[in-house]
Amino acid sequence: MTDLETLRSALREEPAEEFAAPDIAAIMTKGKRIRRRRRLVTGAGGVAATVVTVLVIVGAVALREPARQPEALPPAASASSPSPSLSPSSFPASTATTAPPYPRAQPLGDVIPLDVEGEGDRKMVLYATAFDEPTLQDIQFGLNVAYQNDDGTFDGLYMTNETRGSDRSFGFHATGGGTLVRNTFIPVFGYFAGPAVRITSTVRGKPVEARTAVWSEDPSVVIFWFEGSQVQSSNVLTPLTAYDAKGQRLTK
């Protein structure tokens, strides 16, 4: 037997202790959640996306300013309603205050332009949204890449979030992108929890530096993204490195 055959044989040797049987019910429940989230983010068609946008914006206004009337909504929200039955007046502020229907799609903090234009010359943007998953109590937000429509609404393309531990624990989180969605390239992006001012990596030995923006909702979070011309896939990156304002390395 050659060395290689021996290696392959060793690799395939069953572990001494059997793995736990997969929890099929839990797998399917989690899979359904992922599917729902993907549908919400990528949009199940223009009508559904617009309906969601209307619901979210109404909810957002109601949450922030419960005393205001629906006519105070941004023009985009009421103008883009696809169905008369879903006009803003259908959703009184009190209802939205207690249970906003789609809180995940509501931008949290500033919307960051990525200086990329795509479908219909729309600008690609990056923003955070609330994340509400009962089994992940310490994860309260995720990041979205979307097109910003002329009317101020968003056409979601890609969402990512931390899946383990806390979303604010020191270090890198939710790195994603570097892929095609609807024939659109999504830049590699993510965020760093900590005082990072510079985030770097290398691609085939060549240093690359991410663009960064401090999250307006929490200055301890630094959102970053790489330009598509420099980083085509997260697979080609070496581990990310963060530096503070003094140039000191924050990560190993």
Binding site: D3, L7, A10, R12, I24, K30, I34, F172, N235, P239
Partner: protein, 169 residues
């Protein structure tokens, strides 16, 4: 149950063991491996209507590897050592348990990419072009990475006298 759920349940029964095994080789951690396989299967279920008529196993495998690689990119990482553990003498007596421990220790000496290439190429038996596709690198990179990893493991691809783990050097 929705349409296709029965098929998915059957798919999980048939594939979970191999996915868990691969995850274990990639992580050296039983619980992490079980979690990673569970996540890969959940993501596969999320895309089941799209992948069930294609190669669902390939999809699950790719999700699994990417999920683990994403974990590697986080700053908390294992400290890989340059020194490969010596293979204990008397392996004929030590048996499979020792061999397994050696294998996991040896895999820890590889970089993340080397380890992924070894598992995809020699556990899953993928062609170099398929490994390249799954990792998003060139075929040349897969070849050189594979070669470097095998060298680190002190394995010769041809018939040779050198054994896995070396000769007790």
């Amino acid at each position: 149950m929705a349409r296709g759920d029965d098929e998915f349940v059957e798919f999980v029964r048939n594939s979970s063991s191999r996915l868990q095994h691969a995850a274990y080789l990639l992580t050296s951690d039983r619980h992490q491996a079980e979690d990673a396989a569970q996540t890969a299967l959940a993501k596969t279920y999320a895309a089941w209507s799209r992948v069930r008529r294609k190669d669902a196993y390939a999809y699950a495998r790719q999700v699994l590897v990417n999920h683990i690689i994403d974990g590697w990119r986080r700053p908390i990482r294992e400290n890989a050592t340059e020194q490969i553990p010596e293979r204990p003498s008397g392996t004929d007596v030590a048996g499979a348990v020792v061999q397994r421990k050696w294998l996991l220790d040896a895999l820890r000496t590889l970089t993340d990419r080397e380890r992924a290439v070894i598992v995809l190429r020699h556990f899953f038996d993928l062609k170099e072009s398929d490994v390249a596709g799954e990792l998003g690198v060139s075929v040349g990179t897969v070849k050189s990475t594979n070669s470097r990893a095998l060298t680190k493991l002190r394995i010769t691809a041809e018939d040779g006298t050198e054994l896995i783990g070396g000769l007790g050097r």
